[in-house]
Amino acid sequence: EAGVAQSPRYKIIEKRQSVAFWCNPISGHATLYWYQQILGQGPKLLIQFQNNGVVDDSQLPKDRFSAERLKGVDSTLKIQPAKLEDSAVYLCASHRMNTGELFFGEGSRLTVL
């Protein structure tokens, strides 16, 4: 079974530039999560999708972050414009409801200079 795919794995940009991350969850997983993990901290939820609908985006900085999950499959997370404090690893996870299993991608590491 393929895992949760994320790309790019690494990205370096300058502040005020934009960046986009992509996540392809495991086939059939209805729930998809994006997390931000700043160095030395635990992951923080940015947004949760159920199919292509948003369940929770209360901690998403909507002035600069956006996310979508077209057709309820893969998802993109965009940051525009980036700030220094956005330097972090962005983790995508998907959830299989009938077994309760949870799978994480390898993450996308963003460095903002």
Binding site: D56, M97, T99, G100, E101
Partner: protein, 114 residues
Amino acid sequence: AQSVTQLDSHVSVSEGTPVLLRCNYSSSYSPSLFWYVQHPNKGLQLLLKYTSAATLVKGINGFEAEFKKSETSFHLTKPSAHMSDAAEYFCVVIYMEYGNKLVFGAGTILRVKS
């Protein structure tokens, strides 16, 4: 509110001695509980999971955890620590009845002394 509490931010043990990392969760009808390990600059690796089957769950690398509904706990144990166990450990809970809300504990850093 749904929460996950890891009672120790840091745990230090000697190599060969038992490990206990504690996790408590908010009362829930049907939680799914997980322990993940994260080594420095690495991704999250699943150690074990509880999804309403046996209450004593065995995972990889000799770790196990016991789901205790009456205590709302899911503590992680290992009989004998190895140097390679030094890492950060996260307790994660999915609250199914709250729209599959996924909550991370704050993490416990395990140090293993030689």
